[in-house]
Symmetry: C2
Subunit: 143 residues, 2 copies
DNA sequence: CGGTAGAATTGTAATCATTACAAATTGGTT
DNA sequence: AACCAATTTGTAATGATTACAATTCTACCG
């Protein structure tokens, strides 16, 4: 039961499974916190001591290239990843650094912008920055 | 006449002018190519040999903090900057790396997403990735 | 079963953007 | 001219990501 979902996910996106790929996919599916490559590595390394950081980077690239995950460039420090590939926006709290999912009012992202003829869009992202509710109530001064 | 616009721009956003700040602001206003800090430094350094890269970074941070420019995280390699702070989207061509401006059909960015109560939005960005018209006609194979 | 080719993984070293920091310079004020 | 604060500079550090060559794994074939 434990690894069923990751395996299905990889197969559905044409990614050949391996212990490392299943572990990364599993982590992404279980932790919807938009982790960075380093966070994933640090979380998996204790229980999978042979895992290398390069493999985590390679796997994440493979997953995003095959549509099994999405990479977010909302945080200028490092890229982070999301196993939820359905259309939704993201909100980065610049105080605590958390990235929140935000549902879209209108699912047709491309219709928002007037992209010129001849341009082929492959990906769309909507990013918000600001102060999340938790930080706003914690620290009134800076919010 | 040459530096009038940059000076006005800095003053309008409460940034105390200096030769370096005017040069960076001037470059951003003249080059709507969404340059990175390094591109700006490389372009200005020949005619301003004492300019340091740290100053370019410091100045860009100052400009964005004061609303005289916007920083884009559309390119995962490096942050880039735009002197046009009016609401518009951006399109990154993953082939040639160019960032294009894209007008918005609906100027109210925040209304697109259902941001939860208590969250305070300070910035919104819409990013597209894909293949631009020029690259599409150049190289049919990869587009 | 054992051998083998190709793919996947690993670890280390390099790269590259960005930041930290302390020293030097500049600008405005008395 | 003298002084304080702000700005700039150069160098060194940091930190994420990638390059690369060596090792290990996997699937297939005899």
């Amino acid at each position: 039961m434990e690894l069923t979902a990751p395996l299905r996910y990889l197969r559905a996106h044409g990614v050949k499974p391996s212990a490392q790929r299943l572990a990364v996919m599993h982590y992404l599916l279980e932790h919807r916190t938009h982790p960075s490559a380093d966070e994933i590595y640090s979380a998996l390394h204790p229980t999978m001591p042979t895992l290398s950081k390069t493999t985590v980077y390679n796997t994440l690239r493979l997953l995003t290239e095959n549509g099994a995950a999405v990479q977010l460039t909302i945080d200028e420090r490092n890229v982070c990843f999301d196993a939820d590939t359905s259309p939704h926006a993201h909100f980065l709290c610049t105080r605590c650094g958390k990235v929140y999912d935000v549902p879209l009012a209108n699912y047709d992202l491309e219709r928002h912008a007037l992209i010129p003829e001849g341009f082929r869009t492959e990906q769309a992202a909507i990013y918000y920055r600001g102060c999340c509710e938790h930080c706003a109530s914690e620290n009134v001064a800076t919010c």
